[in-house]
Symmetry: C3
Subunit: 454 residues, 3 copies
């Protein structure tokens, strides 16, 4: 069975990843290629590298690039100046370069103010950041909202700074400009939206978060290639300020967001970690649980906490959107996090593929989920008279489908979705979906305006 784009049945019960065709089966490799392409760019929450990243994405999926001027209020925040950097170095008075931005864009603390001085080594040292535990790694640091400058260096360098003075140069500027983010809406047969958000503000770091960008692009391509019930909105935003900007510009219509995922850190070899939405029992939480629990893979499910990625904004109490967070190893739980060791060798096509499979499966499950009311609730309806035993016996295990039909009839009260019924009955979602479809076609169920309804 394959997911034919434009498939006839809106309530298709398929969600097996083996059904994804074309792009889906090579998703891991495609995602890795995109990571390779974007790796060199020096992204930040604003500036040239971020603009170039959005342009590169636009060559794959038709995102719109939105701009918000520096100084704008977005909810409680002020959009900062735009930051651009051309080069930076630390060198001996002799001219020998010790640190060069050209070698790694991690070397300069994000949003460093311009500086060009010969300064005593003691003054310089106050602006140097390193990782003693990993002397050959360069840390990643920013100072977006507090003016400062700094260099992130290998700890091994610090021992060699024996001169009295060094020449220090950061050729950057902070000036009124534009905060940019990318947005793509894939219209479905209903206006209810699935929100997929990923942050784009990190420089040459692969897992955090070129992997999330690549997964979002892959999912966008996948859902563009099929007919969907839901509309899908993809956001490529600078962390925090970008999410806030989008929320501030869409505050009046957030009620259309039925489900959502924040994607980040999806390419490392660790197990999947799913962090639930603040409401903790929304359909995306249950769909993700279903997919993970049935996968046979080891995984972590964690409760919402108000620290992390942009779920901090989407799930803030005033919005409280049904948005979960999909990562592999959580931020901060791997030593390579926010260091130069989060490089092209730290992410693997296989992990990226698995992340694509799991997220797409969960979303397809929500595509297929429905809520019904039993129209013949007094006693069991006579299924045999309606040919329902035969109807479903073409498919899978007839006893499983018969059980599924009885459970659907027992629990379909107009508020309990078939995903919930599958959980309660401890049956495969597909069986329950198939049973419900057959019962609905026989006129025994009426679809109701649960969350999964057009």
């Amino acid at each position: 069975m394959t997911h034919t784009p434009g498939a006839r049945r809106g309530a298709s019960c398929d969600r097996d990843s083996s059904t994804a065709e074309g792009a889906a089966s090579t998703a891991g490799d495609d995602m890795y290629q995109l990571i390779l392409e974007l790796f060199p760019l020096c992204r930040s929450i604003t500036g040239q590298g971020t603009r170039q990243t959005l342009e590169a994405l636009r060559s794959r999926i038709p995102i719109s690039v939105r701009g918000v001027p520096s100084g704008s209020m977005v909810l409680d925040w002020v959009v900062p100046p735009e930051w651009n950097i051309r080069g930076a170095y630390i060198q001996e008075i002799s001219g020998r370069r010790l640190v060069d931005f050209a070698e790694s864009n991690l070397h300069v603390m994000g949003y460093s103010t311009p500086v060009h001085h010969v300064m005593p080594v003691s003054e310089l040292r106050e602006h140097l950041f390193s990782i003693p535990e990993h002397p050959s790694w360069i840390p990643y640091r920013t100072s977006y909202y507090q003016e400062n400058w700094g260099f992130c260096v290998r700890d091994s360098l610090l021992q060699t700074l024996t001169d009295e003075t060094y020449e220090v140069c950061i050729d950057s500027d902070l000036a009124p400009g534009t905060l940019r983010y990318g947005e793509l809406l894939i219209p479905g047969s209903c206006d209810r939206e699935v929100l997929i958000s990923t942050h784009i503000c990190h420089p040459s770091l692969c897992n955090d978060n070129l992997s999330g960008i690549a997964l979002a692009v892959q999912l966008a391509a996948y859902f563009m290639a099929r007919e969907n019930r839901y509309s899908y909105r993809f956001l490529f935003v600078p962390a925090t300020i970008g999410a806030l900007a989008w929320l501030s510009q869409n505050e009046g219509r957030l009620n259309v967001v039925s489900h959502g995922l924040v994607l980040a850190g999806v390419g490392d070899s660790g197990n999947i970690t799913y962090k639930k939405s603040r409401r903790a029992d929304t359909p995306i939480d249950r769909a993700m649980h279903e997919v993970l629990a049935r996968s046979g893979d080891v995984y972590n499910e964690v409760d919402f906490s108000p620290y992390g990625y942009d779920e901090r904004q989407y799930c803030s109490p005033g919005f409280d959107l049904p948005v979960g967070t999909f990562t592999r190893t959580p931020y901060g739980a791997y030593p390579e996090y926010h260091t130069s060791a989060d490089d092209l060798s730290f992410v693997q096509p296989e992990s990226l593929q698995d992340s694509f499979d799991k997220t797409s499966q969960a979303l397809l499950l929500l595509e297929a989920d429905r809520t019904y009311v039993n129209l013949k609730p007094h006693g069991e309806p006579q299924l045999g008279r309606r040919g329902l035993f035969e109807a479903v016996r073409g498919g899978g295990d007839p006893r499983a489908i018969e059980m599924a039909m009885l459970w659907v009839l027992s629990l379909s009260d107009g508020a309990t979705s078939i995903l919930r019924i599958a959980e309660r009955a401890k049956l495969a979602f597909e069986s329950v979906c198939e049973a419900a479809t057959a019962l609905a076609e026989a006129g025994l169920l009426l679809e109701t305006s649960g969350y999964g309804t057009d």
Copy 2:
């Protein structure tokens, strides 16, 4: 102490099975005798054997036999034609009989259409059912709602069918007739009813469900011999269609059903399995739990599922009656289920007795259960001044009764029954019942219209 029929106190706190007199103490043997008597009859959902079965029951308890004509709609179902069978066989052309209905009424698939042909063995084989794992057992099969015929045979027979043709005869008819079920109402001092239902449509099978029939008869005799608060309604119905028929004829007055039990498979040597009502926390569920938990016996308590016996109908969402299901080993969980091995040796008087004891205890507990409101809720009432310490010290453990009085006073809010209080306080129901009765007599409690109220 004995349960004197016509005992003065409606709210008797006794429920010890040792108090059951006369019939109760020999219940297991009496039930086994009834099974012996009914075993030979060829029951089905309609027909002669079922009519004879109801007549046999009427010689013990004064049931009414209700009839519903073939073709009637009962809820979503159509009452099928009446099936009668006089004989059936498979024989060699030589006249040697290989299979004969006269030997076992299980040999013919229930509702087999008439047939009398000499047919090729290949055609015959399509109509033979056997159990390869148990080659000497005859399976039990029916085809009520789809016209067909068949023989259920020992698997060992199949190897011997080496002839090219056989004479096959089923002397049955399917014709407009009557669906019959038995009903007995034992009026109590209030109109609220306890519904006891058991299916009567199985031929020579003992545990499923002559045991259920025997238990229902025994309980009926027991409750006829005492004065009850509740009215007791016993139903002896063909499975599914009989329950649906009764529900359809009583749809407007089902709100009188306060508690109920479906009885089936109560004579085997396995542990008791109690399947909760769909609402899962009704008084019958809690009473059964109390009896089983205090019994010291191993037992299983399982959640409702929409497959099983006639609880499928009583607990369908449109009715959702507070009806649990009492069995020993559940259907399908023993190899003898629906085979000729479910015979007179598969059920034991001891198991039947135990099933009677447990079900009657649970029902007596509901007879005694009450809901009160504390009329002196501000501080403790002065129990000593009212002689309450002495009042109860005639009985059991005075400290237990004092604790029970304090718990009853603390929790009697007009909605919490004494059964719930006993659970919460982890005290014996009898102590709590005795305490509550004493407090009510002292004017400290007022009985309220909880489910247990007249």
Copy 3:
């Protein structure tokens, strides 16, 4: 850090017992001194010894002594006559005294009617109570509400009663008089009250309940020496009848009671047992849980039951006050309970100190607890712009405080107190309190009328 009396910040987040100054650090010794002083008095629910006890307390804290005349109705109870006793003995006809009230006031059953007879040993024996398992201990017995007399004696005495007759004298009287209890109100900045109650009716028994009296006095002195948000009401009442008397006189204003503790048996060397209020999840229950869980000590938390100390009255269903019960080893769970072995060696200053520390910590936690509503719930507020990272970095772990700020912002919905937030976030109450204070000062939170509000 010290708790300066009259500290400026109402919402101080300190609750470390090391901060208690002066009296607090020597609390255990002070409490033991008071126990020493009160030990000899013959207390009962009325009478001279109880009056003297209240006078002794008045020399330490400014309690008012309230009187209720014998014969008054207090709720459902009648105030009994006042009981006074001057002496009592059992002696041989020869004049040799075997039992003398002067040796131990436990020797006479409380509320014994006067008697002076030479009586047969058989009659005397009916009025003797002893403890066979502990032949050298004197039991403690009373008969307040049923006229009787008795002697409580060492079991070893019984063997020596070989004479035919003995002279028996109890020089007591039961006459109309006064039931007395002590009450102290320490006004706080709001009218909401914390109720601390302890029973004063036991004669020379140390743990039950001179220890409770001593702890209540110590807490009263402690809270008198600081400025409090809550008003604190201390009750020194004869058990049951005294609590009922106070409740009956204050029935119309009990809604001011926000939190409460019954104190009893707080000086033995056992672990702390906290018995929850009947409502089971009130702030005092959670505060006590927080203190105990974080203490590192072994402790027991038990559900409410309607037997025990005066929580029986405060938590009776008509009042249902949020009052927990703080003891060490529970009543009846140590053999010395209600015997002469509950003497000055059975209680230790260290245990008394620990009881003071834990109860005062829980009450200080409630002093500091607040409920807020997030005024910027749409997205995260920009904490850095408001200097909030710096504001709190003067204090403890900045990451912990940042996490605490995010949790407070996420969960402050106007109904969830910071104590609840600390529990949910698994953070120290102090961190959450400090974070909330900083956020409130920055105008991001508004205090609401949760239970912790003025």
